[in-house]
């Protein structure tokens, strides 16, 4: 093939251009740290990236949801723990009260304590978490029990998602735990004041045992749910780490590799410039007198 100066110079311009484009690409990758800038950089990789980002955000949200449910249930459990303590004290009182050797004064003192404990139970029933009432079912903005000890909540579950299509009920409705407890406490108090020891041993001891069992049942179910959710959170946390790793592997530039490519491109560019400078300088003209 016949070669002219123009062929050489145009080839050189083209090669320097593509060298520079390559350099620019590697510079971009290095300065952004990203391998994928545009969908066309790697359409398949970008699809994977989009799916992973979506998956990652889902995981993050489901973890946040589960953590919220766990803290809610832990607050519920703490209240129920308090309630358990009160129930134990009430049982002690009932055991004392069932004993007909106590003088009337002591019986009245016990009745006063029951009255106070009833108020305490009322407070427990109206515990809030993030300004929401724990035991009011879905009526989260109203105290579960009003001043006259009437239940104002409902039995509807509090639901949230901890996975696609996987819903968790994290509520313990007051009606389930407290039910008619306040009325029963009133009866208990009245029996103490009346010195009805027999009535106390016949009714209230059993009533308190039942209540205690109810609370324990609610707490063990809560504990099981908390455990399950925490395992979920842990599992999703691991997945999140894996996903982030994969996403980074897919999207981020491999710095060592890019630097190597960059260095290589720099050499090629330098070489192209150097040879160009030498070839373009000489023609026969340089050697004619």
């Amino acid at each position: 093939m016949r070669v002219t100066e123009k062929i050489i110079s145009e080839g050189m311009i083209k090669n320097i251009g593509s060298s520079l484009r390559r350099l620019d690409r590697y510079y971009q990758q290095l300065s952004t740290g990203k391998r994928l800038q545009y969908p066309s950089d790697d359409p398949v990789g970008v699809t994977v990236s989009l799916k992973m980002r979506a998956g990652l955000r889902e995981l993050e949200q489901y973890i946040a949801n589960a953590e919220f449910a766990v803290s809610w249930m832990e607050a519920t459990d703490a209240s129920l723990d308090e309630l358990t303590k009160v129930l134990h004290r009430l049982k002690e009182i009932a055991v004392y009260g069932a004993n007909d050797t106590l003088p009337e004064d002591s019986m009245n003192a016990l009745a006063d304590e029951v009255s106070e404990l009833k108020k305490h139970v009322w407070q427990i029933a109206n515990t809030t978490f993030e300004n929401r009432y724990l035991f009011a079912g879905q009526q989260t903005k109203r105290p579960a029990y009003d001043a006259s000890f009437t239940y104002q909540g409902d039995d509807r579950p509090l639901l949230l998602e901890v996975g696609t299509g996987s819903r968790v009920d994290y509520s313990v409705p007051g009606s389930e735990v407290f039910g008619d407890f306040f009325a029963r406490l009133d009866e208990f108090e009245a029996r103490l004041r009346n010195g009805d020891c027999e009535g106390i041993s016949r009714n209230d001891l059993a009533m308190l045992d039942e209540r205690l069992e109810l609370v324990l049942k609610a707490r063990s179910s809560l504990g099981a749910k908390i455990n399950r959710l925490q395992r979920n959170i842990e599992r999703m946390g691991t997945m999140e780490v894996n996903y982030s790793g994969l996403l980074s592997k897919n999207e981020d530039a491999d710095i060592a590799e890019v630097v190597m490519h960059l260095k290589m491109s720099e050499h090629v560019y330098q070489a192209a410039l150097a040879t160009g400078a030498r070839i373009l300088q000489t023609t026969l003209v340089n050697y004619l007198r």
């Binding site: 093939m1 016949r2 070669v3 002219t4 100066e5 123009k6 062929i7 145009e10 080839g11 083209k14 994928l36 545009y38 969908p39 066309s40 950089d41 790697d42 359409p43 970008v46 699809t47 990236s49 989009l50 799916k51 980002r53 979506a54 955000r57 889902e58 993050e60 949200q61 489901y62 946040a64 949801n65 919220f68 449910a69 993030e130 300004n131 929401r132 009011a136 079912g137 879905q138 009526q139 989260t140 903005k141 409902d154 509807r156 509090l158 639901l159 949230l160 998602e161 696609t164 299509g165 819903r167 509520s171 999207e251 023609t283 026969l284 003209v285 004619l288």
Partner: protein
């Protein structure tokens, strides 16, 4: 028997021929860098010899040469390569338009990133999940509202950028069309000059080069077929319709098409029929305007309108914090006008996070919020019930990625091919300074030698005229 002064004539012819050859060399050197220039070569041939052989002529041998002349100034060019170059220029022009448009689409859609529609869609979903967790929390409602506002703004902004891109392509197509008209006229004018030169029997080498440059640019803009008439004038057609015929040029015109949002149709100015474009930059711009950008606009509109309809349907059935129901969340009907419904903007308690509980309000009920979140991620609403909104948007991005990657590769390929063809043409037509230098020395020496010949004959004649016959004086 030859003339006494015949040798002088031979010398003179040699002087003339070599002077001309040297001039041509000079012309080549001067145009070494002129785009489209083809090197010219002096075709030296021996002039017709004299005396036919005859019976009387027995004493001298053979035919006697009479010197040299430049028979033709030949333009060195492979016209077959020109045809290939024109063809590939058209293909390259089309891919250039595709590639640059797809590149702009990639910038507009801005994926993968934290600021694209995909990311905002997921943020919106997260905000709905948060609402389901705490349906009675005003702060969460505020967050959801702000997220939804930026989401809808982004959709509207993307839509308007796509529209602008479509308008830009329309404008560019008109500019390219005007350029085609101007080139057609210039080619017609050069055709006319070429015809004149041919008719007096000369080679219009430089005019041919000039015309080829124009035709090559034209080929990049549209598909053309080129034929020549008996005067070596080009007859150029676009898919069978005449653009240039000898010294006459037709022109393209642009008619706003009311059925096409006022975007223009490219028609023949004379007949008003639509130009059947098959390749070249103009075709690329028009198909990008009418197919690709239109596809992304349609897809974005489908995305937005499905979002509006389906999201509102779920929202309508739900209940707000203060018992409101039957309200829309989004207003508008496509990507151009999707907004948050004023009913929501006025009072964020109207965001229907709860389901129907028989008229009983329940602030802690977030089940409708979960249903709303489901509209975005789990309900198969797009592509005949096979894809979620989120899947659908991803598929748009994938298509863009594949198309843009293909366009990048194709453009690179076409460029490389064109470069190769140009290199081959340059190998035939290009000026090599080394060659020209050698020729220069050659022609100069020949010229000098011819002068020397004339001097020699002059001396011979001197001897003959002034010194011969002294004996008889």
């Amino acid at each position: 028997m030859r003339s006494t002064f015949g040798g002088l004539e031979v010398g003179l012819r040699s002087l003339r021929a070599h002077q001309m050859a040297l001039d041509i060399t000079g012309h080549n050197i001067a145009n070494a860098d002129t785009p489209g220039y083809s090197r010219q070569v002096a075709n030296l041939t021996a002039t017709a010899p004299y005396t036919l052989p005859s019976l009387q002529r027995t004493t001298t041998a053979g035919q006697m040469g009479t010197g040299v002349e430049v028979a033709r100034i030949q333009r060195m060019r492979d016209e077959f390569i020109d045809v290939q170059i024109r063809h590939e220029s058209s293909a390259q022009g089309r891919w250039k338009a595709r590639q640059s448009t797809l590149e702009q689409l990639e910038v507009i859609l801005n994926e993968p990133s934290e600021e694209g529609i995909a990311a905002y869609l997921h943020k919106f979903w997260s905000a709905l999940q948060e609402l389901a967790d705490r349906p009675d929390d005003p702060a969460i409602r505020q967050v959801l509202y702000e997220t939804a506002v930026s989401f809808t703004e982004l959709i509207r902004q993307t839509h308007s950028q796509l529209k602008t891109l479509q308008r830009d392509l329309d404008q560019q197509a008109q500019i390219i069309g005007e350029r085609i008209n101007s080139l057609a006229q210039q080619i017609a004018a050069v055709n006319e000059e070429i015809g004149k030169v041919i008719s007096v029997g000369d080679d219009p080498n430089d005019l041919l080069d000039k015309r080829e440059v124009l035709v090559r640019e034209l080929a990049g803009l549209t598909n053309i077929e080129v034929q020549t008439d008996h005067m070596n004038r080009y007859i150029i057609t676009i898919s069978g319709s005449l653009l240039v015929s000898g010294d006459r040029a037709n022109s393209l015109a642009f008619v706003e098409n009311p059925d096409h949002n006022g975007l223009v149709d490219v028609v023949w100015a004379e007949t008003g029929t639509v130009v059947d474009l098959r390749d070249g930059e103009l075709k690329g711009l028009l198909e990008m305007r009418d197919l690709e950008v239109a596809y992304y606009l349609d897809a974005l509109n489908a995305f937005a309108s499905t979002l509006i309809t389906e999201f509102n349907a779920v929202h309508l059935s739900g209940y707000g914090l203060s018992g409101s129901t039957g309200l829309n969340f989004f207003s508008g009907n496509d990507a151009s006008n999707i907004r948050i419904d004023p009913a929501i903007t006025i009072d964020l308690n109207n965001i229907a996070a709860s389901i129907d509980l028989g008229g009983v309000g329940a602030p802690g009920n977030g089940e409708n919020a979960l249903a709303l979140a489901g509209v975005i991620k789990t309900a198969f609403l797009m592509n005949n019930g096979t894809a979620t909104l989120s899947d659908f948007y991803e598929s748009i991005i994938v298509k863009l990625g594949v198309d843009a990657e293909k366009a990048n590769t194709m453009l690179e390929n076409k460029k490389a091919l064109l470069h190769h063809l140009q290199k081959r043409q340059e190998s035939v037509a290009g000026v090599s300074l080394d060659e020209e230098m050698v020729n220069m020395i050659k022609f100069q020496n020949s010229y000098n030698a011819a002068s020397r010949l004339i001097t020699a004959i002059d001396e011979m004649l001197e001897t003959l005229i002034t010194r011969t016959g002294i004996v008889g004086r």
